[in-house]
Symmetry: C2
Subunit: 346 residues, 2 copies
Amino acid sequence: MRKKVTLKQLARELNLSISTVSKSLKNDPEISQKTINRVHELASFYNYKPNALAVSLKSNKTKTIGVILPEILNHFFAKALFGIEKEAAKNGYKIVTCITNESYQKEVEYVEMLNYSSVDGFIVALSQETQVLNELDHFKVLKRENVPVVMFDRVSDEIDCDKVIVDDKVASKNAMQYLIDTGCKRIAIVTTIGDISVAKLRLEGAREAAEANKDVSLINLEVKDTIIDLVEKESNAIENEIEKFLKENDLDAVLGLDETAAAITINISHKLGYKIPQDISVIGFTDGLLSKHSYPKLTTVSQHAEDLGAKAAEILLGHLVDDYDENYKTATEIVKTSLIVRESTK
Amino acid sequence: MRKKVTLKQLARELNLSISTVSKSLKNDPEISQKTINRVHELASFYNYKPNALAVSLKSNKTKTIGVILPEILNHFFAKALFGIEKEAAKNGYKIVTCITNESYQKEVEYVEMLNYSSVDGFIVALSQETQVLNELDHFKVLKRENVPVVMFDRVSDEIDCDKVIVDDKVASKNAMQYLIDTGCKRIAIVTTIGDISVAKLRLEGAREAAEANKDVSLINLEVKDTIIDLVEKESNAIENEIEKFLKENDLDAVLGLDETAAAITINISHKLGYKIPQDISVIGFTDGLLSKHSYPKLTTVSQHAEDLGAKAAEILLGHLVDDYDENYKTATEIVKTSLIVRESTK
DNA sequence: CTGAAAGCGCTAACAA
DNA sequence: TTGTTAGCGCTTTCAG
């Protein structure tokens, strides 16, 4: 078993002191060029790399950011993670990812664990349960210890930190307006994620658009089920509920507040013999795989998840530089959504 | 800014030496119960947690495992990651995740970076490019340094390490046989992932099943496109190619070697007015979101990605215990697949 | 130009 | 029962 080479060993082989070797590796001008060359040569011969742990212990920086996500089996968060990872890698940072599975308890544990592993900062999207309980002390600790946090998508007003969100309300309003503009009058909202902050905003936006057009009626179905169940189960319960709802209501459009709701609506419509978009228009949220591979393809609100993740990472990394002002004022960045019109609307 | 409390501070406040405090925290029997109690009390008052970096530097263990995935915008890998994360968390391990985006270069960089961050071990699924180039020196380095590696799904014979795979050949054979058993005779194979190891195995399996039934004919379409493009683009090119293929060939079944291929086949069939499964049966691989939310729902080979990930983690963790035998013989674990019959087959 | 020494926070062998 | 010391690998100040 070959062990990793250390400064000490290089120093010994070169008959130099550890500190000289260390400085040489950094091309410190106070070291002679000749020595610097000798050191570099041997170092690259052994493929020397400084031990990251030791550097971190000394510098109190790990070049690691903790990412806490509620789910990963969800295109939106997967894509955001992708954006985060890309941005982090570009700047020589690693990410350590924890998935709370929408559990408050897990979230608390992970925040603690990562904090004690000395991550340099956090990127967080809150779990559903955390949002419902509105318990955020675990983040207040970070605040007190001055660990930078950036929240995205699932954020909380209780915590004063940088945030990156999507303007869900406007997005939803626009989507609704699009349906209205294309002649839809009896529009239903279908959601399977009623509990979380973004769904509430989306609902509000849709309401506003509907209320501004007096001949439009809005019907609301909230499928009571957690997000996790949806992904894990065959989810017939949800489908049945949506089927019943579609049969009982005479609709000409559905706005799904999440991708699954929209996808299921499309499939149930087929089953019931409704033509899309002739009989019924459908719009969804989150431009994921389901939207691209449904039939017909789904018109959808794209939240630009990757950009969102990248943006969150960018902001966090900005706080990780040396000369970071402790008393700076936090900001909330709003990433614009766009309505991607495909074939499920007129 | 409140800083984290250290042993030193506890020691000072208690008028004890650092080592006494350290031992007390571990309930070392050579320390008096009284002292132990005092220490514990103050420690929990300050919510003391040992600095993970220092512990790691000392012990040469980080309680972190490096996970290298080709993609994350892919249900299979996302699910595997979920399984890994769960298993790791259960054992007090963190994971640091890197996404190669199917690039060899990135894979090399990440392996190096994580190795020099002293992860305790690796869980890897090879990138497409790595498999095509068949360049695996970056893993041989790990072998030499005795860093445990477990590969899953996308593995290589060149590397002697534990592996967790799915029996793709058998799975594919069974899927094919199922089509044959339900009366299909003119069966096509559609794939968009021809380059990677698993696709080749799946193709082989399908061939074997077809050849064993002499009245069955097999037609093959390999859509030349990388996986990444598929996910990122609207991918009309692929759809057009599949559409042309379906029109030109008189088929009664399609076996998609990846989920996307199967999902697109279903949608194109709708477009062409073919009834599923009456006119054409479809089977896919990877029981992801698309399979559950297609219409009709897709009969699919489930690779049990979560179990696969969990298994890989379990094996790796087994090597991370103290008394690990250096010269143990590596093994390849095969996770059974199952055919989930839904509505896209007779 | 080079080296000795202290220290990051912790553990563990050894002394007292 | 408690404390001293050395050391994990590195950086950095200060001396030589």
